[in-house]
Symmetry: C2
Subunit: 203 residues, 2 copies
DNA sequence: TGTACATCAGTGAACGCGCGTTCACTGATGTAC
DNA sequence: TGTACATCAGTGAACGCGCGTTCACTGATGTAC
């Protein structure tokens, strides 16, 4: 009487996905996690959340990633890649100086501030990454260097000066969006307005 | 035999603290939490950690705070207060322009980047605050406004222009320290070096 | 091309763990007389 | 000032919960012939 254990399995679970399906799932997991991580942070995004976002259950997670850290690293890389692709596409087709101005404008836009999930991974994830592994910092640094290199094209002068100006510009933009999101609405507006005023030396 | 439950209490526990002691404990909890939160973030700092830091046990926490959120709010306010006090003390005794330069230098110093626990709460806690309650954003915004107001004294020109310059300066500094901490050492150094180069228009 | 079989992507229950919070209890503190 | 008693700051066990991770299992996929 004591030892009766019921093992009832529902009939619909556990079907194997094809290689193509698996690759598609992997991509969906990374894309979804990339958004969730930017919205909720690393601690606020569970493995189960990320899998559910891709329409899967948490148990299969470890067929795709060695651990949660690995997903964070991939998702971070994906978010940086997305940002660079957008910036690169614009740089290829337009005047770099115009692109730089447009980048600043869109970066500091109310839309970007209000929607971290589809925005730059730096304001949302940098603090988390700073407390994580050296490998993740390497990935973050690579993304940052890439963004700075692309943005440097929009500045005048010698290469080193342009690079330095790009890093300063990124620090200003990241800081402004981060602080605006962390502040009450009115303080955020004041700060964004100030950040949008390009100083003369920035051009 | 089944119902024997041992209730052995060690003799040293549960002594009531005086009002002065309680106030001292409260201060120690807030100070300690302020450091831990800056080092490990909100999710990475447990109530038990914060109490242990003050030499207490977790059970007494709720005699001091309604919930964990309340401690975060107090600790954030304390960290901002500390920063403002340091900035204010310098502003009272020296030329504001010199103070501004010194502030930038110390903010972007390797020491500050390497020691988040004793540094500015903005790079470490802004992303967490952005995901928390409106009340916490209000507190963060107040701290930011205070820092900007103090820093504005270091700029030239009309009051609104000085205020805007102070906000831009803070965004740059916060962004630079945040990004440097999240990047590998070499990328971080490159970025800090760029940030330390004050552009002509900043003066 | 068809068949038999090994592989393995995905499922959902289960694991140990640490978390925020609650609670009965202790005994020094604070107060009323 | 001294005494009797109520208060309550701090303790440590216990609570339910969600987390990252593991695992036995399923059955379509992929492969060897």
């Amino acid at each position: 009487m004591i030892d009766i254990i019921q093992f009832v399995k529902s009939g619909d679970g556990g079907m194997r996905a094809s290689r193509d399906e698996m690759a598609a799932h992997h991509g969906r997991i990374v894309k979804g996690a990339s958004r969730l991580l930017r919205e909720r942070g690393v601690a606020g995004t569970s493995v189960a959340d990320a899998m559910a976002e891709a329409g899967l259950t948490h148990g299969g997670f470890y067929r795709h990633f060695e651990a949660k850290d690995a997903l964070v690293a991939e998702a971070l890389g994906d978010a940086f890649g997305e940002m660079r692709a957008r910036l690169g596409a614009r740089l290829a087709s337009e005047d770099p100086r115009v692109v730089r101005a447009a980048f600043r404008e869109s970066y500091l836009s109310d839309r970007h501030v209000a929607d971290p999930g589809h925005g730059c991974p730096m304001p949302t994830l940098a603090a988390d990454v700073a407390r994580e592994s050296a490998a993740l910092k390497e990935a973050f640094g690579a993304g940052l260097r890439g963004a700075a290199a692309a943005l440097a094209c929009g500045f005048e002068g010698e290469a080193p000066a342009r690079e330095a100006a790009a890093y300063r510009e990124l620090a200003l933009l990241v800081g402004a969006v981060l602080l605006a999101r962390a502040s009450d609405a009115e303080t955020g507006r004041t700060l964004l307005k100030a950040a949008r005023q390009a100083t003369a030396a920035d051009d």
